[in-house]
């Protein structure tokens, strides 16, 4: 005998129909349950995999930090030995050469530091880079402390590669201004200006020193400093370097940038 499935059912169904309906419902439910179980197992697998990846990532981050730590230790060893040598060296020429080398190391360390702190970032913010760089550079290159640096930097970012070139260029130009502009530890000022004019960046290093020697020819330089600058400007920044005497010495670099990004 059949049981009405709905109160208002107009028709009675047979027992065998009912059994087969129930059987189908049971079958559907069991397949639903087994698919749910399957999904749950898969979710569990995914979450276990996620956890594994997360701990692997954490391990990688730790290892990267450890590598940065080691790099900083190596940089400390080299900087320490060079700057200790500089302090104990009697010859002024040797001292200056060592000072310049320490300055170069300070620049490279500043780049390393910025890239280490922002591992995901492929670009360097110029104001931050110069902020990181300028004090250490001035301290190393002008131990007497008579020279002050004034910076006016437009917001701009550089790729890690161009940023490295930029930092080295800056170290050379500042070293140059201190060494040639203010001989014998004279006091003075260096003004650094970085501006962004349409798609060109203009970098100007201007000192209040004695000006350039009349025979300076940027095309044929013997010293490492300016020849390194010329090479980096041309090859890495794809830009132009010029120099003039206007009050003190003025070095100007122009190089192409995109929308505030090179």
């Amino acid at each position: 005998m059949g049981v009405p499935l709905w109160g208002q059912a107009s028709r009675q169904i047979s027992l065998s129909d009912e059994v087969s309906i129930l059987a189908r419902v049971a079958e559907r439910q069991s397949s639903l349950v087994s698919s749910l179980l399957e999904q749950a197992t898969r979710a569990q697998d995914i979450s276990a995999e996620n956890q594994r990846l997360m701990s692997e990532l954490a391990g990688s981050i730790d290892r990267i930090q450890e590598v940065h730590h080691r790099v900083r230790n190596h940089l400390q060893t080299v900087t320490g030995l060079l700057s200790a040598q500089e302090l104990t060296e009697r010859s002024p020429t040797a001292r200056r050469a060592l000072q310049r080398s320490v300055g170069r190391l300070v620049s490279i360390a500043a780049i390393h530091e910025l890239l280490a702190r922002e591992p995901a970032s492929e670009s360097l913010q110029l104001p931050e880079l110069i902020g990181q760089l300028s004090q250490g550079l001035l301290r190393s290159l002008d131990p007497g402390g008579g020279v002050c640096l004034k910076a006016e930097i437009a917001p701009m970012s550089l790729s890690a590669r161009k940023g490295t070139a930029f930092a080295l260029i800056l170290a050379e130009l500042i070293a140059n201004a201190i060494e040639h502009g203010f001989p014998a530890g004279a006091a003075g000022q260096i003004a650094l200006r970085v501006a962004h004019e349409r798609d060109v960046a203009v970098v100007e290093v201007r000192d209040s020193g004695i000006g350039l020697p009349s025979e300076l020819d940027l095309g044929s330089m013997k010293g490492v400093g300016l020849s390194l600058v010329a090479r980096l400007v041309e090859r890495e920044l794809k830009g132009r370097l010029s120099a003039e005497t206007d009050g003190g010495a003025v070095f100007r670099i122009t190089f192409p940038v995109g929308e505030g990004r090179a």
Binding site: V71, N73, Q76, G80, V102, G136, R139, S140
Partner: protein, 212 residues
């Protein structure tokens, strides 16, 4: 310039320790101890009583921050951290441990020298200030004692403040003690009297009843 400082260097990496040691020497300072662990740094700080400690942070045993904390407790000396780590919690820990400078490697001699000098000078300024505060506190305590002692004399013997003060000064100079010491004796005597009269009061009350 604070040249010729006696420095303890704590650094577990031998090459770095050698280079920094040379820097310190070139700056005119004297290395009086080289520690490779935090534990050693604490021990050397106690043994050598250095003018400055240059401390790495990540070291075996106990790290530089923990070592600095223990040094601040047991035998205070200015600590300059020199480290390859720049995680925020480390900087916060270094500040909390009482460190006076935090240099990130690499530090050229100019930076290292400036940090040492600053730390050494600040440490002594702080020490002087602490001693000054302690002296002021002692003076303040002495004044409070004298004021309370005067109060007692005024109350017990109906003296004016000036009279109480004059008598205390006379007595202090006669018996060759400091005014604060005399005040202390007066307060002690008052305490004894107050105690005995406090204990005696119920007895007197009881005696009164008997008498009546």
């Amino acid at each position: 310039m604070n040249q010729g400082l006696r420095v303890v260097l704590a650094e577990d990496e031998p090459a770095v320790a050698a280079a920094v040691g040379e820097q310190l020497r070139a700056l005119g300072h004297r290395l009086v101890g080289e520690a490779e662990t935090g534990e050693e740094a604490v021990r050397m700080a106690a043994e050598q009583r250095p003018d400055v400690i240059v401390m790495d942070i990540r070291m075996p045993d106990c790290d530089g921050i923990e070592a600095a904390r223990r040094i601040a407790e047991s035998c205070p000396a200015p600590v300059v951290f020199l480290t390859g780590h720049f995680e925020e919690e480390l900087v916060a820990g270094a500040v909390a441990s009482g460190g006076l400078a935090y240099l990130l490697k690499p530090a050229a001699s100019a930076q290292l020298g400036a940090a040492l000098e600053l730390a050494h000078t600040r440490f002594h300024e702080m020490k002087d200030m602490k001693e000054h505060i302690a002296r002021l506190n002692r003076a303040l305590e002495a004044r409070k004692l004298v004021a309370r002692a005067k109060g007692i004399l005024m109350q017990r013997y109906g003296l004016t403040e000036q009279e109480a003060h004059r008598r205390m000064q006379q007595e202090a100079s006669r018996s060759n003690v400091k005014l604060a010491e005399l005040a202390h004796s007066i307060l002690a005597a008052e305490a004894v009297v107050a105690q005995s009269s406090g204990a005696g009061r119920p007895a007197r009350a009881a005696g009164g009843k008997e008498a009546s």
